[in-house]
């Protein structure tokens, strides 16, 4: 247990060896995770709780933390040593619970160059519980922490008191144990000020966002062109072609290699071992790597809360507050963690708007990378450069985010409280931790995406072989053409989008060139984001919103999809 952003999850990983995501902003952990620890032959279960400032929860993540407390036999209270005074409030509340407790005084290394001196022995004797200074990031002090767990105690001299009472107690404690040297503005403070003052902060924010996505594209594209594409084309293709030859033509060849004879085209062949591997590994993975690396850097420096502060005004117009920018950022990677991040918003109205907008207007990296791939593949047959079409898709989505958000703010009942967010100190990202986090997220993608992609390609193969795809296409032909001016095949694309959005774009690409006009592709790419979340996101969304609100959200999605598709048809195609 502990305040938000004190490093509970890092301590947890250290104790259990389990991998959990940790960052430098409050609200990274919104649910608990359990892990096993073995020490001296005894096994114990460690629970990592979301951060909370007190035992009176103000949002759902804090509620989770308070509920977990009831299960605990021993509390490890992680305290930010650079912020002792504020952290002690929760400590006192925890001490009142009569559960044995140990304090892990984290971020101990920073106290020195911040000029903070804490008399641990004194604090120990005053609180009568073990207090261990640690540096969770490097693992310093963790061993002592573990060995001290058996000495955890709940001192009887701390009696429940009022809120004011606690602060008076803390005041006396702090006077006895802490001495703070006055330090001049450090470089970090100066950077912090620059990034938060509107005059300099807004241009810096724009530059950082632009730079982030520029780097993502740069890394992603180069990985594809110079690493993964050559591997597939030069090494894998001869192998799989040979394998195909030994299979001969027929049912197995169609499923595993290609639906059409001749040279293998990884994008269109729809074979499990060709398209099924090529799309997730070559087209999506490089962007996933690039995006999560940049996201991890942004998270670990502590920039996101500053961005939230700058964006607060805009997000208020959308019925949220500045923190609403965090689900969007996470959602650009994958909508599932984005959905979970909405828990840090306080009211039902805010969470509903944040979740609905996320599912409507924020494409995940898997989908984004395939939209890039689609337009660059068609480069030669396009009238304008690919960038032109991609810009239309994303500008439309951004506009939808703001317009729908504005309308929802007016329509949804409920309160939108003001922002109340802690600014963590800037930190230089710990390189190994950042890489490890990127790797964890990539592995999560591989474990999650590959099976779904396989299943999807498999299903489409079955449907194709049985002729169901053509049947569905012709069945929906009147509807699709009548309302949206799109070919019947679109229905197949949209249906596969329920499974995974990248699969849907993959399906789109498997139709012969010329099935769709370029503007129709733009409309379909946009529509794919809006109309409905993929099954994984859908499941989390039901859990977060409840069935009733989910139905409302679904109605909004379909309405927006219908409206946008018709508008785009009128604007882009003109009939």
């Amino acid at each position: 247990m502990g305040n938000p952003n004190v490093g509970k999850s890092v301590v947890f990983s250290r104790l259990t060896g389990a991998n959990v995501i940790s960052s430098n902003y409050p609200g990274t952990t919104v649910d608990f995770s359990k892990g096993k620890m073995r020490y001296d032959g005894t096994k114990s279960t460690i629970i990592d709780a979301p951060g909370t400032y007190s035992l009176e929860p103000s949002n759902r993540a804090e509620q989770v933390a308070v509920n977990i407390l009831k299960e605990a036999d021993i509390i490890i209270n992680v305290v930010d040593a650079t912020n002792l005074e504020r952290n002690l409030y929760l400590t006192l509340q925890l001490l009142e619970q009569n559960i044995p407790i140990v304090i892990a005084l984290n971020i101990w290394d920073e106290t020195q160059h911040l000029g903070i001196h804490i008399d641990i022995e004194k604090l120990k004797s005053l609180l009568k519980i073990p207090i261990i200074p640690i540096v969770a990031l490097t693992g310093e002090g963790i061993h002592t922490l573990v060995s001290q767990l058996q000495n955890a105690s709940s001192p009887p001299h701390i009696k429940p008191t009022s809120d004011e009472g606690r602060w008076i107690e803390i005041g006396t404690l702090i006077k006895q144990v802490e001495r703070v040297e006055h330090r001049h503005h450090t470089l970090r403070n100066r950077i912090s000020d620059l990034t938060i003052k509107p005059g300099t902060g807004l241009p810096i924010a724009l530059a950082i966002i632009f730079f982030t996505f520029w780097i993502v594209r740069l890394i992603g594209e180069n990985l594809i062109t110079y690493v993964l594409d050559p591997i597939f084309e030069l090494l894998y293709k001869p192998l799989i072609t040979q394998f195909g030859n030994t299979l001969g033509s027929g049912f197995l060849y169609n499923f595993l290699i290609s639906q059409s004879p001749g040279e293998i085209n990884f994008l269109e062949s729809l074979g499990l071992l060709t398209t099924g591997l090529y799309v997730p590994l070559t087209l999506v993975l490089p962007y996933i790597i690039a995006f999560y690396f940049m996201l991890s850097v942004l998270e670990d420096t502590g920039y996101l809360p500053r961005l939230a502060t700058l964006m607060d005004n805009i997000f208020h117009k959308l019925g949220m507050h500045g923190y609403g920018v965090v689900p969007v950022f996470l959602g650009l990677g994958c909508n599932v963690p984005g959905m979970l991040a909405t828990r840090s918003l306080e009211t039902r109205k805010q969470r509903f708007i944040a979740a609905t907008l996320l599912s409507i207007a924020v494409p995940c990296m898997a989908q984004t990378s395939l939209i890039f791939a689609m337009f660059s593949k068609l480069k030669t047959s396009l009238q304008y450069p690919p960038f032109f079409y991609i810009t239309i898709v994303f500008t439309t989505l951004i506009m939808i985010y703001f317009i729908v958000g504005y309308l929802l703010n007016k329509l949804v009942k409920g309160e939108c409280p003001e922002i109340f967010l802690e600014m963590p100190n800037y930190r230089v990202p710990h390189f190994k931790t950042t890489l490890k986090k990127t790797w964890m997220r990539i592995r999560w993608f591989l474990k999650d995406a590959l099976p779904w992609m396989f299943l999807g390609v498999f299903l489409i193969n079955v449907l194709y072989t049985l002729g169901i795809i053509e049947y569905v296409a012709s069945l929906f032909q009147p509807l699709m053409t009548g309302i949206f001016g799109l070919p019947g095949e679109t229905s197949v694309v949209l249906l596969s989008g329920f499974l995974r959005k990248d699969l849907a774009v993959g399906t789109l690409l498997s139709f012969p060139i010329g099935t769709f006009s370029e503007m129709q592709l733009v409309i379909i790419a946009t529509l794919l984001t809006i109309y409905f979340p993929c099954v994984a996101t859908f499941a989390v969304m039901i859990k977060e919103l409840g069935i009733k609100d989910m139905i409302k959200a679904a109605v909004i999605m379909l309405t927006v999809a219908l409206f946008v598709a018709i508008s785009l048809r009128l604007i882009l195609i003109g009939n």
Partner: protein
């Protein structure tokens, strides 16, 4: 030496002040309190976002961003 209380919103940037009173409901007070914003605490504003945007403050050794409406309810007295 003059002493008068003003809402936090009117406190000039980078001027230390002491919190004299917090108006508002119990829940609101409690939320501020657990983050270290309570009577007697020294506080200063770091910057104010334009157009009635949020205010970033420093209290209890750490920076926080709070809404303008919240800041309006915090009465402070400048120490000098």
């Amino acid at each position: 030496m003059k002493s008068k209380t003003i809402p936090l919103t009117e406190l000039p940037v980078n001027t230390p002040a002491t919190i004299k009173n917090i108006n508002g409901g119990l829940g609101f007070k409690q939320r501020l309190q657990v983050m270290g914003i309570h009577k007697g605490q020294t506080i200063k504003t770091i910057c104010k976002q334009p157009l009635k945007g949020p205010i970033t403050i420093n209290a209890c050794g750490c920076q926080m961003t709070i809404g303008r409406g919240m800041a309006q309810k915090i009465e402070v007295e400048t120490t000098r």
